[in-house]
Symmetry: C2
Subunit: 309 residues, 2 copies
């Protein structure tokens, strides 16, 4: 954070929160126009990207243009990586470096939006030195804005500090992943091949769900399996500021002892553990590492580097 | 509806909506007490029912008692079936008959509530002749109340008529289930046996997700797979009033031609299709039947009648 002062960061945070509000209003206005039949088409128009479940709508592009213009005007020296401009580009490399950079998904949950399933949001992150330090996520249909700035805490609707339960933050269960809610995404790779990501993912999800003695000892008996259809970026900043941990979901061969690496932006494979309280037998961080390893034990490696997806 | 006039039904509806507001406020108050550390325990206390992922909390019981008392005072002649009193009882039979009956889940999504995952709600249905005709679902964390009364439409927050997109209601996709969002529940039966419900369910979910040419021709390539951790009852009333269809998820042997039976309360196996618009080639109802059969084709039969679950 060599050339950005805390005061500048505070200003950027305030700007990002307002941007999230304005962009969320644009998403909600677009949703309402469809609800009121005021658009020429009431079925939302979308374009398939890599396959028939990878979509982009006019709303994605309009909101991204709005955010991009606002950032370019206010902070002409900052880099900007937008989900749609990035997706449309030739390179799949996630070109993030140490420079002050905005990472924006204007409509995170495009499939949800096309079905007016309420879990859609605008996701705005600001990164320095390759790591998100400000995050703003506004899900306007649910009246929920999550935001954070490094050192200033993470918040729901600017008033409720995160994590929601804080006095104290509950420790992670001793027998985790049992007692945990497991949120996962089926994703867009639907190829039916034994070594394909879909088959390996679902095998991993089944390990997490099954009774403890099942699946050759890999049963996790989680409290529940949830899928909402959204993903990361600003979420990393908010989760970390709230005390959570995020790393890779791809287990290393020596999953019991390997270092737990910091999250790599653009890796498409994330494992996030909620904020945890300290416990007489282990610190919060130790318990998070324990749950990372218990999860790595149960999941298969995935690859998104092969052609086709 | 022999002995209940439309005027009486209107009154019952208004009473049910207010009940949903009050009970939702109780849920939110309980959530806030935990967020503020004002409860003796900040980890919610819960009791495991049939296994470690089948939970009941003090809030379930408190809210059910509140609703039960309010109904008993206002409508002493009505029957009352509460999720928790029902679960605690000896019989697993779902004792619903033709009498005016309230069917209430005071805290639908107990696992979500214990984790303060916002998808929890109170669910209140009123049934006559064994079928729900009034439904009220209040998800207070999301500021969303869904309600319906037979003949009076289905509503979001009493102002936005359902389905959300109405002018016109979009037709179902010609290649459904492709183009549809598929919502499913992993459920509480986690036994790792080849003929167990979990294995069969996940096999079915994979059929729905896979590329069209995959899974021996059963690939459904749905837009997305979603799991929220809530279930039915008042939802039936609201979905039907909005124009949706709900039937059994268990496919009959002759799934291509069998009658599509009306939903059976307490069956634990539901297949719900969204409201649909008419299309030059088929009516809305025809298209819903088509999607039922396309789904039946891809899913395995499940059994919840065996002991142990």
């Amino acid at each position: 954070m060599a050339d950005i002062s805390q005061q500048q960061l505070d200003e950027i945070y305030a700007f990002a929160v307002q941007l999230g509000k304005d962009a969320g209003q644009m998403l909600m206005d677009a949703a309402r126009r469809r609800m009121q039949g005021k658009d020429a088409t009431t079925i939302v128009d979308y374009v398939e990207k890599e396959n028939s479940v990878d979509l982009v709508t006019k709303t994605d592009n309009d909101v991204e243009a709005f955010i991009h213009n606002a950032v370019a005007k206010k902070y002409p020296d900052h880099k900007f990586i937008g989900e749609e401009t990035y997706s449309a580009g030739a390179s799949r490399a996630y070109l993030i470096d140490a420079a002050p950079t905005w990472i924006v998904d204007p409509l995170d949950g495009t499939v949800n939006f096309t079905h007016l399933f309420p879990m859609f949001c605008v996701s705005i992150a600001f990164a320095i030195d390759g790591h998100p330090v400000i995050g703003v996520i506004n899900a306007p249909f649910l009246h929920q804005t999550f935001s954070s700035c490094r050192g200033k805490g993470a918040w729901l609707n600017e008033t409720q500090r995160l994590p929601l339960i804080r006095n104290p933050v509950p420790a992670l269960p001793a027998n985790a992943p049992s007692g945990c809610t497991f949120a996962c995404e089926w994703g867009k790779d639907r190829r039916d091949t034994p070594e394909g990501n879909m088959i390996r993912k679902i095998d991993s999800f089944m390990n997490m769900a099954a009774e403890r003695e099942g699946r050759g000892g890999k049963g996790g008996m989680v409290h529940g399996v949830r899928s909402l259809g959204r993903d990361v970026a600003a979420g990393i900043a908010i989760l970390e500021e709230a005390g959570g941990l995020i790393t890779t979901a791809n287990p290393p061969a020596d999953f019991e002892t390997a270092d737990i690496p910091p999250v790599k932006l653009g890796s498409r494979l994330y494992l996030a553990i909620r904020p945890a309280g300290d416990h007489p037998d282990e610190t919060a961080r130790q318990s998070q590492h324990r749950v990372v390893r218990e999860t790595w034990k149960r999941v298969q490696e995935l690859s998104y580097s092969r052609p086709g997806v």
